[in-house]
C-alpha cells in the first residue's frame, strides 16, 4: 500500500485510534476524538468503553455521531446518567482512563486554548466555543490524548488564553495544582506524533507519519519544535483500519 491510498487525515485518525489500544475507558470529545475512539472500537480495542459528556457510558454507535448527544449514543449505552453525575461521580471520581481532546490552540507544554484568539491590535478577540468538559477531563482522566491538524495557527508559541492546563510551565506544575491524572501523553496530528519529553514536559516530535519530513512538522509548528532522541515512523494504515474508518464515516453521512 502506498501513500496515495490514504489521506493525511486518515493517517491522523488511524494513529489516534491506535493510541487507545489497551485503554478500558475513554471520555470522548466530539469531532476527531470521537472518530478516533469509534475507530478504536472497530479495530484495536473492541471492548473500549466510550463515555460522552452527554451522560452515556458504554456507547456503541454504528456510525459517527454528529453531536455528543445523538440518539444512538444513548440507545446503545450500558448506562445513561445525568450530566452532573457524569462530571462528579465518573470524571472527577477518577474512573476514566483516557480523556481524548481536540483543541484550537496548543502550546509546547500541551496546554490548550479553546476560548478566545488574539487577532491583532485594534481587532476584537476571535471567539472560540469555550471550555466544555476539557479542563476537568484533562485534570481527572488517567491520561490525556489529543488530536488536531498540524499548523502554526494550532501549535503556537504562546496561548492567547489557557482554557485547559496540560503540563503548565513544565514538570511539577500538575502535582502542585493537585491534578490527579498524568495529563497529555500524546498529541496526534496529520503529520506525526508529539510526546512530552519526560525531563522537561515539553512536546517533542517522536514519530512522523510515512512520507512526512521533520522539516514539514517544524514548519507547521509555532515554536522551535525539538525532536526526540529517536524519531520513529508510524506504521501505515492497514487495509482493515482504512476499511473500518471509511465505513464509519460513510455510515455517519447517511442523514446529513
Amino acid at each position: 500500500m502506498t501513500t496515495e491510498d490514504f489521506t493525511r487525515d486518515e493517517l491522523m485518525e488511524v494513529n489516534a485510534a491506535r493510541a487507545l489500544a489497551g485503554a478500558r475507558t475513554c471520555f470522548v470529545g466530539i469531532g476527531l476524538p470521537s472518530t478516533a475512539a469509534n475507530l478504536a472500537r472497530a479495530t484495536v480495542n473492541p471492548g473500549l468503553v466510550l463515555i460522552y459528556e452527554s451522560g452515556t457510558i458504554g456507547s456503541k454507535p454504528t456510525r459517527l455521531p454528529l453531536s455528543i448527544g445523538d440518539g444512538e449514543l444513548a440507545e446503545t449505552a450500558d448506562a445513561v446518567v445525568p450530566v452532573p453525575e457524569m462530571f462528579n461521580y465518573w470524571l472527577q471520581g477518577g474512573r476514566i482512563d483516557v480523556g481524548f481532546l481536540g483543541a484550537a490552540q496548543v502550546d509546547r507544554f500541551a496546554n490548550i486554548n479553546t476560548t478566545v484568539v488574539d487577532r491583532g491590535p485594534g481587532k476584537p478577540e476571535g471567539r472560540l466555543p469555550g471550555a466544555g468538559g476539557a479542563p476537568e477531563i484533562a485534570s481527572n482522566c488517567g491520561k490525556v490524548l489529543m488530536v488536531l491538524r498540524h499548523s502554526t495557527r494550532g501549535f503556537v508559541r504562546k496561548l492567547d488564553f489557557v482554557t485547559t492546563l496540560g503540563h503548565g510551565s513544565g514538570p511539577g506544575d500538575r502535582e502542585r495544582l493537585g491534578m490527579p491524572g498524568a495529563g497529555p501523553v500524546e498529541v496526534i496530528t496529520d503529520l506525526g506524533v508529539l510526546r512530552p519529553d519526560p525531563a522537561t514536559a515539553e512536546l517533542v516530535l517522536s514519530a512522523l507519519h510515512p512520507g512526512v519530513t521533520v522539516e514539514q512538522v517544524r514548519d507547521a509548528t509555532g515554536w522551535d519544535l525539538r525532536s526526540a532522541d529517536t524519531v520513529g515512523v508510524t506504521e501505515p494504515p492497514t487495509a482493515a483500519e482504512l476499511a473500518a474508518l471509511r465505513a464509519l464515516k460513510s455510515a455517519g453521512k447517511e442523514d446529513r
Binding site: S54, P84, Q92, P129, A131, G133, P135, E136, G178, M179
Partner: protein, 273 residues
C-alpha cells in the same frame, strides 16, 4: 401545579423582559418551539443560561433579545461556530453580549447548587485555567477536614427554565427519557418552569431511563408536537442533522439570518416553527 396552556400564553406569562432564562437540553429535547415563541413576542434583555448553547441560542442572540450568556460550550456540534454568537461577542451585532463562562463541570454543579438551594457547589476544577479570571462566579473554599483548596461555583437559579419533554399527563406531571442531561437540575433550580411536550397521555407508564417532574414543581405544560425540532425527542422524532448543517451558511450572513427568522419564526404558522 402545572396548568395546561397554549404556548403563546405560557411564554407571555412566564418569560419576562430581563429574566435569566435556561433552555436546557444536551442535543436532545431542546425547546426550540418555546424559544421561537420568545422571539415572536420580542421578550428582550434576557440573560440566557445553558451548558451547550447551540443553534437555538444563536437564533435568540441574533434576534437581539439577549444581553448576557452564561455557558460552557457554544458551538454547532459537529458543524462549527455559532456565527450569530460570534458576531455578537466580536462585533456587538445586533447588540453586545456579556459572557459568564465556565467549564461543563462547573456549570453542571452551578445547577446542582441551584436545585439544592445551596449558595454554591464544590468541585475539583478550573485548576490552572484562565477561566476563573473572567468571571465572578468561580471562587474557592478550603476543606475543613483536609485543608485542600477546591473550586467553588455560585449557584445558578434561573428566573425561568424551559425544557421540552416527551409527554405529560392531564395533571401536568411530565416524563422525559433518553439523554436527560441537566434538565432536572435546571428545572428545580428555577423560580418558574415551562415545559413543552410531544404528547398528552392519560397515564405516565414507567419508562426505562424515565425522569418524572411532578406537576407541583411546574408552572405550565404546553402540548407542542415536534417542539424540539431540529433537535429531537427520543421515541417521537429524530435529530434533523441536515438542518444543523444548513444553519451554518444562514447564520454566517446577517441578512440571510434576518430573512430566515422573519420567514420561519416571526411569521405566524411558519414552517420551521
Amino acid at each position: 401545579m402545572a396548568e395546561i396552556r397554549s404556548l403563546h400564553d405560557a411564554v407571555a406569562d412566564l418569560v419576562h423582559e430581563g429574566d435569566t432564562v435556561a433552555m436546557e437540553g444536551f442535543t436532545h429535547l431542546i425547546p426550540y418551539a418555546a424559544a421561537h415563541e420568545v422571539i415572536r413576542q420580542g421578550i428582550t434583555d434576557l440573560t440566557l443560561a445553558r451548558m451547550t448553547p447551540d443553534v437555538v441560542y444563536d437564533q435568540l442572540i441574533g434576534a437581539g433579545l439577549v444581553r448576557k450568556l452564561i455557558f460552557s460550550w457554544g458551538g454547532n456540534p459537529g458543524v462549527g461556530s455559532l456565527h450569530r454568537f460570534r458576531d455578537a461577542v466580536e462585533n456587538g451585532w445586533p447588540r453586545p453580549l456579556e459572557l459568564d463562562e465556565h467549564s461543563h463541570a462547573g456549570m453542571a454543579n452551578r445547577y446542582v447548587a441551584g436545585a439544592s438551594r445551596l449558595p454554591f457547589a464544590v468541585l475539583r476544577g478550573y485548576r490552572g485555567s484562565d477561566l476563573a479570571t473572567r468571571t465572578d462566579t468561580v471562587s474557592s473554599v478550603v476543606c475543613p477536614f483536609t485543608g485542600e483548596e477546591l473550586a467553588a461555583v455560585a449557584a445558578l437559579n434561573p428566573d425561568v427554565t424551559v425544557v421540552h419533554a416527551q409527554r405529560a399527563d392531564r395533571q401536568g406531571n411530565v416524563q422525559m427519557w433518553g439523554l436527560t442531561g441537566v434538565q432536572k437540575e435546571a428545572a428545580l433550580a428555577a423560580d418558574r418552569v415551562l415545559v413543552t411536550v410531544e404528547e398528552m397521555v392519560d397515564e405516565l407508564t414507567p419508562r426505562p431511563g424515565g425522569v418524572v417532574l411532578p406537576t407541583w414543581v411546574i408552572d405550565a405544560v404546553c402540548v407542542v408536537p415536534g417542539g424540539a425540532h431540529p433537535s429531537y425527542a427520543a421515541g417521537y422524532t429524530v435529530r434533523d442533522n441536515a438542518f444543523y448543517q444548513a444553519w451554518d451558511p444562514i447564520a454566517r450572513d446577517r441578512d440571510a439570518f434576518i430573512q430566515w427568522i422573519d420567514e420561519n419564526v416571526r411569521t405566524e404558522g411558519a414552517v420551521a416553527r
